[in-house]
Subunit: 155 residues, 2 copies
Amino acid sequence: MEEEVRWLDEREARVWRGIVGVQQRLSAVLERGLIRESGLSGADYALLVPLSEAQGGVLRARDLGRTIGWERSRISHQVTRMEKRGLVAREECSEDARGSMVRLTDAGRAAIVAAAPAHVAAVRRHFFDALADAEIDVIGLALERVLDRLPDNDG
Amino acid sequence: MEEEVRWLDEREARVWRGIVGVQQRLSAVLERGLIRESGLSGADYALLVPLSEAQGGVLRARDLGRTIGWERSRISHQVTRMEKRGLVAREECSEDARGSMVRLTDAGRAAIVAAAPAHVAAVRRHFFDALADAEIDVIGLALERVLDRLPDNDG
């Protein structure tokens, strides 16, 4: 260990345990619920959300990866799995011969519409029900600032 | 969609985008940094942290999985990969014939000790530097409450 490292102090360590814990344990609880209620994995849901919110239900694979923080190969494998189940379709990009597009199919849209109510209820039960209104505002602003400062493709 | 679903309001949606965004995009930034600086993946680091903090550097596979929210098969595959690289070793559990233990090796401890300074510096740069002191306290308390209420094995 180098002398000049500023390790996390106790207050910071509590926050970081909270962030990592939510990422690991809350995600796991929500994913088990998704699979049980709707047959979708967390990875399925992660892809379906930005596609369902995109204009025309279509995004460049590259932009989809940037949105959810995945490497190209991980996006590609997941799209292949979901294509086989009819949830999305790959298309050539008309403007860029190297870029491929991912389109939400009708079945994909039906799957997320069917999954969303139980998922939102689980998010409410396991996350928002534990928080006070004032905390919701503080956390929302703070995390928005964190995300705005994140680099797109660099560590 | 069912009538009785309470969808997230705008303030809640901002928080949830923050939580999901941190989970996806901040994780990706930190993982790229880990790989570049130390050759460890995010999954390697996730396992090494609780092992390095455990008494004697050893945990039951089941408890390790519960701590980081992973299913048994995912823990098992990751342990196999890390065993091949000499970072951890599997052992029989002396108290429970069905349970296996995971032990941090000297090489595993050296790997996390070497990786930690750059990782903590990246956590500080990309997360804590964006936050005010008062926000750190609010977020720490709130996420601790969320985690305390989470079920261990149920959605």
